[in-house]
């Protein structure tokens, strides 16, 4: 099993360096939930189907991320507080290439 280290800045601005497994089919939203870095009910509301924007985050590192899908793009086009670095955490799978990823959680809305 390979664990990677990622940095998540929570909605209060606190930075957390955490380990994430790459063999459990987890995405970034689920990692945030597993470490309880955002209150239950405020993240991953749709369960990870790119159908809400509660897991929106801003990617601060220069990682090569998976190509944005039509669903994700459509959701982001209706979300609030969107920046050019915005992605939905549920669409970012944890794999060895994500080691060192740094993201900030977007405000709740």
């Amino acid at each position: 099993m390979i664990d990677i280290t990622i940095t998540i800045i929570d909605r209060q601005g606190v930075s957390h360096e955490i380990n994430a497994p790459t063999d459990m089919n987890m995405n970034l939203m689920e990692v945030v939930k597993s470490y309880e870095l955002a209150p239950e009910g405020t993240i991953g509301v749709c369960g990870g189907m790119a159908m809400c924007a509660s897991c929106q985050c801003y990617v601060e590192s220069g990682h090569q991320l998976p190509v944005i899908s039509d669903d994700e793009e459509a959701m982001l086009s209706e979300a609030f507080n969107v920046k050019t670095t915005s992605r939905l955490g549920c669409q970012i799978q944890m794999n060895p290439e994500m080691d060192g990823l740094k993201v900030e959680l977007a405000p709740e809305c």
Partner: protein, 350 residues
Amino acid sequence: MIKTDILIIGAGPTGLFTVFEAGLLKLKCHLIDALPIPGGQCSEIYPKKPIYDIPAFPEILAGDLVDNLMKQIEPFQPGFTLGERAQTIEALEDGSFIVTTSKGTRHQAPVVAIAGGLGSFEPRKPLIASIEKFEGNGVEYIIRDPEFYRSKKVVISGGGDSALDWCIFLSDIAESVTLVHRRNEFRGALDSVEKAQELKNTGKIEIITPAEIVDLKGETNIEGVVIKRENIETTVACDHFIPLFGLSPKLGPIADWGLEIEKNAIKVDNTLDYQTNIPGIYAIGDVNTYPGKLKLILCGFHEATLMCQSAYKRIFPDKRYVMKYTTVGGVEGFDGTKKEAPKAVIKAIV
């Protein structure tokens, strides 16, 4: 006043299945839901998505799961108060409760089961500083009566089905309809997108993309919206601004009912019967929390089943009862129907 045995708040899968389990115990149910249709998230967010972890269904669409549940509970004739949010609760001296909705409909029951999922679905409001000032003065998040917009200038924003569908619908009613969306692509049913394109081509509606509404103008009532497109701001006059950015769940008024809340959910006694800190009020499905809680439909079904047994004991404290298998006892509906296993036929071989 609507009177029932178990008043269920939330008509999602868990709330619907509660009707079945209660029905087996001859208890009548009435459901309240803020959405206009039953099914909760399964109907509102992902009706066309498959679910793979419903026991004995290798794959079922969320919308089909709701349809099946509605069919399963039909013999128990549940009542529905839809499109109204459960607002207040009042405990009476006889141990029963009165729940009043946002529209003032009153319901009385000895047992209340909160199956509210992640809460009631509220419209997502765009981040425009002055928007709250105009709420009810030209800004509406939900279209309740299309006639309200007759011969009015309407601006709609959003890029999904509801934005497109209302644009199309209001194009025949309103004086003018302008649709503003942040990008050129719309996420809607193909025929809606094509219809909107046709209306745009014939000049019946105006579509402004990629653009965003950044400010609202007016004294008391809204008089115009400021649209930003390619860094240029223009003001478009309007009588109504309707932002349609979908719905997001909020625990809402239930949070003020005196229930113990933890992690945006209602704490229950999971070792016994999913009762809350207020006897007679239960919380089942995604809305509750307890050590080891999993927000799964199948867990909600289990919780509903145990909760109904407890509700029965609360309503009939002196009656003895043991759970019966439906294979043995069949299903006797309140509508006079009866389903039961066919009797074995004994025939001698001579």
